[in-house]
């Protein structure tokens, strides 16, 4: 038997497909959307500021392209949550939840590209022993060293991502939104790059020509790592990997709890389940073997499905199937 949650109240806007969000999560979604709009506006202003101060500096040009790529994850998030709201249609019987996985993949590729471009750029600069020229700028009738202006611009472009990224992480966990998580990684990449540039420009200021490239290289390695991690987890999720936590740190506890709950029922001898992450919500297929002499009737199955639903708001589609023997094709999820 099968069931989906049907609280189909059209007036409600905070939902993923036909999953109504609990009040806290609905609030978190609203905050996340607002944060992403703020991010887009802020990054737009950062792009303008860097454009005005970059001059002929290759390093600043790279920073500028990175700032543009930083627009990708917020856009991916806004598009993905918009798509994910749609209810299932005859052509999309599972709903549109997977738009999240596509958004996650898109954001991961953007992050990886930023990391790789920064790595190549800074490594080449070091290899060629490029001595970055930073001259002066005429500002309100005074001649000032352009390094100070670059530091000011980088302080501005760094503060936004530092604050916004920190605000997004808890929301990513609460909403189980991996696009938002990848976006928080992108913001970390942004503020670390800005901090690295500040250190690098100061280093150049005291005559260490390699300071900027060396700082950028160190930071780019950590960005590449984050990008690679997100690319792997987003493609794994698209290949129906078992559901994992929002940061892909470990298997989601629900994947174990489902069998625990089912085995706890007096009429169930054993159970085996698959839990996949549709994007925000989980899709569960569970097989139960009734005890000898017990009957898996509709009441018992419906009660079991209701108990599974109680586990987490993310549990969306539950297919529960009584079987004579547990399917051997499904590996035991227990560690």
């Amino acid at each position: 038997m099968s069931a989906g949650s049907d609280a189909a109240d059209e007036g409600y806007s905070a939902r993923f497909g036909h999953v109504e969000l609990p009040e806290d999560e609905a609030g978190a979604l609203r905050r996340a959307k607002r944060l992403e709009v703020v991010t887009l506006a802020f990054m737009g202003s950062a792009i303008a500021v860097v454009y005005l101060t970059m001059g002929s500096s290759q390093a600043m040009k790279t920073a500028w392209i990175e700032d543009m790529l930083a627009l990708v994850p917020p856009l991916a998030f806004l598009v993905a949550v918009r798509r994910a709201r749609k209810r299932p249609t005859p052509d999309h019987p599972y709903g549109y939840h997977r738009s999240t996985a596509i958004g996650h993949l898109t954001a991961a590729v953007a992050l990886l590209v930023v990391g790789l471009s920064l790595t190549v750029d800074s490594a080449l600069g070091l290899l060629r022993a490029e001595h970055p020229p930073i001259g002066t700028t005429e500002l309100l009738g005074h001649t000032v060293w352009s390094g100070w202006l670059m530091i000011a611009a980088m302080t501005y472009t760094g503060i936004g991502p530092f604050v916004l990224g920190r605000l997004k992480l808890p929301l990513a966990e609460q909403l189980h939104d991996k696009v938002l998580y990848a976006d928080a990684d992108m913001q970390k990449a942004d503020w670390m790059t800005a901090a690295g540039t500040i250190v690098g420009v100061l280093g150049i200021g005291i005559g260490l020509w390699w300071a900027d490239a060396a700082a950028a290289l160190l930071i780019s390695l950590s960005i590449v790592r984050d990008g690679w991690k997100n690319l792997r987890s987003s493609s794994d999720a698209l290949m129906d990997q078992r559901a994992r936590t929002f940061d892909d740190g470990r298997p989601h506890p629900v994947t174990i709890e489902v069998d625990e709950v089912l085995r706890g029922l007096p009429w169930v001898a054993d159970s085996r389940s698959r839990v996949r992450d549709q994007g925000h919500v989980f899709h569960i297929e569970a097989f139960v073997r009734p005890r000898a002499g017990e009957v898996a009737d509709l009441e018992r199955l419906e009660e079991a499905v209701a108990m599974l639903r109680e586990l987490d708001w993310k549990i969306h589609d539950v297919v529960l199937m009584p079987v004579r023997d547990l399917p051997e094709t499904i590996p035991d999820p227990r560690p």
Partner: protein, 165 residues
């Protein structure tokens, strides 16, 4: 772990600051061009002929740009040692650190931008032989790449004493 790496980077650069320590000024030349010019009392300048800007027919280069360079050297209290050559030759001398400055009617749209440092433009004139009405060219001088104290000193001097000041 990741932020540990970032703080490692910050700490190591801060350590470098302290090592460089005592009496540091910002910006500083990685190869010490400005300090060397001052202590040797010689500014080594390359000149490439350019009608209206640099004339190399005389004993010493003359024209608008050599005169500016002589005045700059005078204010630094140093002598100018001239080398005459084509633009590409001068660029190579700058790259090798054999000269400290090069002039030759160069504009900010010259092709050497990734080999030598260019000063901010010190004068903007209507373009020679321009077909477009109001087209201008911005004249710059060439300095060794990344010798930021020397470049900043020259730019500051041009701001105060150049034809546009």
């Amino acid at each position: 772990m990741r932020s540990a790496r970032a703080s490692y980077a910050v700490v190591s650069v801060l350590a470098a600051f302290m090592l460089a320590g005592c009496g540091l000024s910002v910006p500083t030349d990685p190869d010490g061009t400005l300090d060397r010019v001052r202590s040797d009392g010689v500014l080594r300048v390359g000149a490439s002929p350019s009608p209206g800007w640099v004339d190399v027919t005389g004993e010493r280069p003359s024209g608008r740009e050599p005169e500016l360079v002589e005045r700059f050297a005078g204010d630094l209290g140093v002598e100018v040692e001239w080398t005459v050559g084509g633009e590409e030759h001068l660029v190579r001398l700058l790259e090798d650190g054999a000269i400290d400055l090069a002039v030759g009617g160069v504009t900010d749209e010259n092709p050497w931008v990734d080999k030598v440092g260019l000063t901010r433009h010190y004068v903007e004139v209507s373009a020679a032989g321009a077909t477009e009405e109001g087209a201008t060219e911005k004249h710059v001088m060439m300095v060794p790449m990344g010798e930021n104290a020397f470049q900043s000193e020259l730019e500051r001097w041009l701001d105060e004493n150049g034809p546009d000041s």
